[in-house]
Symmetry: C2
Subunit: 304 residues, 2 copies
């Protein structure tokens, strides 16, 4: 089934201790939609300015990503610039130019409204809620968020949460949201705020998944070198939601376990190059090879 | 088969943000031997002073831990005092009194020398080497270490490593030892220093295991509350080594995977109370229940 993805579409400038690149194709929806497109048809919702390259529309088309919901308006595309510390684990935002994003009002084409699966990639929770309101009872809603919204628009986030089936956030955001140092307490605490399932991303340490009396923990794919962590979280969310939309009719905890692994696999490719470069031309063989590696690296009861 | 355990036996004072207790039974060998005793007979090597309570010898006896190699000499037992930060993730040593430990020269009773499995729990690497020299070709040698030895007696540690089959250390120690930020690079780098296998403990994030082209990653048991992290690493090492000694004739990577889970299970009990309190009276049912929980929390290809 199709997955509706809404989020930011951006042109990024990224500086790591080793390299700096500008005018990079980025944004939460770009990463998420591309990752998801390996598993299911995608209907993209977003906004770009007149400076946005037509080549990316061609790329989306090549990946069967429907762009009927992408508005192209007068002005400049949303721009973000960030710099990573020496260990690539922390980053500072150098600048954010909202540009056309400032007045973004998501409008769903009629053909989008019946999508059964929705990924509300990282944007303001009020916008995420306004997308949901235009939809006809989706079966499964995944939402991503970030520290900015926890700190500045908490009421909007709290309004959204009961309408979310799976909330994805990272470890520091989970701690911030609950004021708990234990991630186990944090994950369980966030479930009480509304979402049936909560996934906590821990970067190099993998991810945790919380359900009703259910728990899943996975490691990260063992990469020696990371080139650019930008978009890894968005890619994780896109891989998870795409796998669910493309494979499952009714989501159970068992499906979410596999979805976490596929999200982790896609994220492992994402960080191997700047922008979406590594995600543009993957094959299902490459994806499944890493999925199998996850099996090998996590099993301790070998079936012989 | 029997496991020889050598390390420190101590009386600890531990302060957490919530509680403070003194005269606690502790030390790397005490934790490791107790954890191991759930899986195999243990032959303990260490030293205590005349202030050391006879009740602990009785406890060892009750757990079938052979104390023929524990010297009791005139003077005070080794004492350590530490204080944990609010999140229990970092600690400061407040004081260390070597006392009788200062002149400790491990002497293996004749009955110890043929042990097939050895755990060199955390003590100075020169002492660890002197224990190995008294042994007749053990099949499998596990060693634990700490930042102190990496910083102050690195040459001794480097001499020991080629004689070690499995080195266990924590994430910050692995990074310090190799000057690598990536734990994947660190784990692989340490193997080149001698040990066939390397286990990196990551506290709440679980543990990683490196072999020749083999890799295993596991999470930590999901505990909401931790009361005292002291000894968790020693317990992990003891659980791993004990499981191997008690279950396996010839160690393969498959056995090490299971051993990591048993080590994690024992460590999860350890941190639930101060000192060794939670480790004194476990049942195999309790241990196996958590082992099963590890299976459930890490599988994503369900066999139905």
């Amino acid at each position: 089934m199709a997955l509706l993805v809404v989020g930011s579409i951006a042109l990024d400038t990224v500086k790591t201790p080793v390299e700096e690149h500008g005018d990079l194709f980025g944004g939460s929806a770009s990463y998420a939609a591309t990752a998801a497109s390996y598993f299911s048809p995608v209907k993209l919702v977003g906004i770009v300015g007149t400076d946005f390259p037509q080549t990316e529309f061609d790329f989306w088309k090549s990946r069967k990503i429907d762009t009927a919901g992408v508005q192209r308006v007068e002005g400049k595309t949303f721009r973000w610039s960030g710099e990573y510390a020496w260990d690539l684990n922390t980053r500072q935002t150098r600048s954010t130019e909202l540009n056309v994003f400032e007045k973004f009002e998501p409008k769903l084409p009629r053909s989008y409204r019946k999508a059964d699966f929705v990924l509300l990639a990282n944007i303001a929770p009020a916008l995420q809620s306004r997308v949901l309101k235009q939809m006809e009872r989706p079966h499964f809603v995944v939402a991503d968020t970030m520290n900015l919204w926890i700190e500045t628009t908490r009421a909007d986030l709290d309004t959204l949460l009961p309408n979310v089936d799976l909330l994805i956030l990272n470890d520091s955001e989970a701690r911030e949201m609950t004021k708990e140092t234990s991630l186990i307490k944090a994950g369980r605490g966030i479930r009480k705020m509304g979402p049936r399932y909560v996934a906590i991303k821990k970067g190099e340490h993998g991810a945790l998944l919380f359900g009703d009396n259910e728990f899943f923990s996975c490691g990260a794919y063992p990469l020696e070198d990371i080139h650019d962590p930008t978009g890894a979280g968005d890619t994780f969310a896109g891989g998870m939601a795409g796998y669910l939309a493309g494979t499952v009719r009714k989501v159970h905890f068992t499906d979410l376990r596999k979805a976490m692994i596929y999200g982790s696999v896609l994220a492992s490719f994402c960080v191997e190059a700047f922008s979406l470069e590594r995600l543009r031309n993957l094959t299902m063989d490459q994806i499944n090879e890493r999925y199998e590696a996850f099996k090998l690296m996590s099993q301790f009861e070998v079936i012989t």
